[in-house]
């Protein structure tokens, strides 16, 4: 199974998180694509969430957006799969959703915490334009 993770390349926090994601041990193949990337727009431009929210697309065509996509990213990793299963449980799902919305809404402000320089497009997008395992 391959999951394509479409993240917001205009936010340094998202780019850093995507880089972190690509460095983790995963149960599935992860392809990280900036949502603004030409290839991403060509393949997934019909998805209304593209660029607005985190989007995850499986190779069989299933699409997750927002907090569900966030849970899918955790599910993909060896170290966080159990956490993802718990986050999707009825008790924790509303909390996980609120957490994701909180972070997502402030992603550009969070960028200031992880990056010293403003996210120049070339510097951010370049290392993630290809597929990562």
């Amino acid at each position: 199974m391959t999951l394509t993770v479409l993240f917001d390349a205009s936010c340094a926090f998202c780019v850093r998180t995507a880089q972190w994601l690509s460095a983790q041990r995963a149960h599935v193949t992860l392809e990280l694509l900036p949502a603004q990337d030409e290839q991403a727009v060509a393949r997934f431009g019909m998805l209304p969430w593209l660029g607005q929210q985190l989007v995850v697309v499986a190779d069989d065509g299933r699409v997750w957006a927002g907090s569900a996509a966030f849970v899918m990213c955790l599910w993909a990793l060896v170290d966080t799969r159990e956490l993802a299963m718990q986050m999707a449980s009825p008790g924790l799902a509303p909390l996980a959703e609120r957490f994701f919305r909180f972070v997502s809404a402030r992603r550009h402000r969070l960028a200031a915490l992880v990056s010293h320089a403003p996210c120049a497009e070339a510097a951010c997008a370049r290392p993630l334009s290809s597929a990562y395992r």
């Binding site: 997934f44 065509g61 299933r62 699409v63 907090s67 569900a68 899918m72 599910w75």
Partner: protein
């Protein structure tokens, strides 16, 4: 009373050493035999790895328990038979409690290893919001999820 001849300390040490040795070996063998069942399930495709993990766990178990048993050995005095029995019981009590703790910790490790291996086969925990057609551009929407569950 002659202080040289009335100490039962050597007897306490002797009995303690024998019981500690037998107990630790018995527990380690139990752990080895039953742990093998768990690990064979987890590493079904790599039996040699299962065996290696099992052996290493047992080696750690031996090291910890013999080390702890040695540290527990030293006592100062056992002038009467009653005090010698009490001393022996206290030592064995501490030893048993520590063995039990180690044993449950090992069981927890087996449980963790197994649960982690099982997690590899778990399906996605959240429903998809949409389904893309495999060989076309058209997307058809799961209207229920689309309308209600997607965060804006």
């Amino acid at each position: 009373m002659n202080p040289v001849t009335t100490s039962y300390l050597v007897w306490v040490y002797g009995v303690y050493a024998v019981i500690a040795l037998v107990l630790t070996i018995w527990l380690a063998r139990t752990l080895f035999q039953n742990g093998a069942v768990f690990l064979a399930d987890v590493f079904a495709d790599k039996p040699a790895l299962a065996e290696a993990v099992n052996r290493l766990l047992v080696v750690g178990f031996y090291l910890f328990n013999f080390g702890y048993a040695c540290l527990l050995l030293k006592s100062y005095d056992a002038p009467t038979v009653v005090s010698a029995i009490e001393l022996l019981a206290t030592k064995l009590g501490w030893l048993l409690v520590s063995l039990a703790t180690m044993h449950f910790f090992n069981m927890y490790l087996f449980h963790r290893i197994r649960r982690r291996a099982l997690a590899a086969d778990l399906p996605p925990p959240v429903l998809p919001h949409a389904q893309l057609e495999p060989h076309g551009r058209a997307a058809h929407w799961d209207t229920l999820r689309h309308a209600s569950a997607v965060s804006r």
